[in-house]
Point group: C2
Chain length 161, copies 2
DNA sequence: TGCCGATACTTGATATTTGAAACAACTCGC
DNA sequence: GCGAGTTGTTTCAAATATCAAGTATCGGCA
């Protein structure tokens, strides 16, 4: 069986289009994530999930609940519990019971955590800029918008299938 | 906090541009991966890494070495060993020592593995097409090309930093 | 030959992630 | 106030991933 040339129809192209696109999206994301992740580990003894979690807290001066962290970082609940415990033991975050709801825990950055994150963020920024430097500003914007459309798809109610 | 207008310089825009882009790229990829991964598990008792590995073998009728699998799937060596062992025990792949190099193992899809993958691929294709259906053909092509440029960056020799 | 530095892969210890079940604290209608 | 269902979080075991170190083989060369 050499060079299987099976018949193609019009939709075939679309299908392969979408598949190739997904493959490439996944590859790009994974490569960059590995790149950044290993750099974070090497230079800061950290990781991408930790960085991601800290960055959410950095933007939320009033702290966030575990559930909010879970949503925003795309990590599962159990994972957030685990990450926060580790970061807490290193003194980067604190937890306190919410006054309004005693089930909920509010997580905040400590001053030390804030400094730690700021340092990582600076380095992170440099790496990312370098990685995307092969695109023009316009291209970056286009890419951003197209991905926005894709992402949109997930906010909508379940598709009919 | 309403429209905090802090001083900006020219590079500021670029930086945030790149960061936001990376964040969105990562988010899109992760969401789709979770979506597809859980569907693969639910309907086929499989996972994205397994699917990925099988798809590489599907395209390589002559089989692939462990090392090649590792490169192509972006998984670490140890992980590939682990995955292949699992798939082998389920009868989806076989391993044999390469005749040319007794260190190397050549992995191939079994007929059963081929059928298994084909079934998953059909479903996978449907999901992906649905997920990207909010883009026009042209947009998909543009996205694909832009990501290609980004990916390119990693084939080049180390950047000066 | 016989040794040396690469290579291809596996192993084992450890780290991380997931998913489902378990808990405790909420809310609401009564 | 009292259950019944909800919600926010943790726990625990199983699945998966990583890293470093180990084993076997190779290719070449003195």
């Amino acid at each position: 069986m050499t060079t299987t040339s099976r018949p193609r129809n019009a939709s075939d192209a679309t299908e392969h289009d979408a598949l190739r696109l997904w493959l490439r999206l996944f590859t790009c994301s994974t490569i960059i994530a590995q790149h950044v992740g290993s750099a974070l580990k090497r230079e800061f003894g950290s990781s991408l999930p930790r960085f991601d979690l800290l960055s959410q807290l950095y933007r939320a001066p009033d702290g966030l609940r575990m559930g909010e962290l879970s949503e925003r970082t795309l990590a599962t609940g159990g994972n957030v519990t685990w990450l926060v415990r580790a970061l807490e033991s290193e003194g980067f975050v604190t937890r306190r019971v919410a006054s309004s709801d005693r089930r909920a825990a509010i997580v905040r950055l400590t001053p030390s955590g804030r400094r730690h994150f700021a340092a990582m963020a600076r380095a992170h920024e440099r790496w990312i800029i370098a990685l995307f430097s092969s695109l023009t500003t316009t291209e970056r914007r286009t890419l951003h918008e197209l991905l926005g459309t894709v992402k949109q798809r997930f906010r909508l109610p379940r598709t009919t299938e």
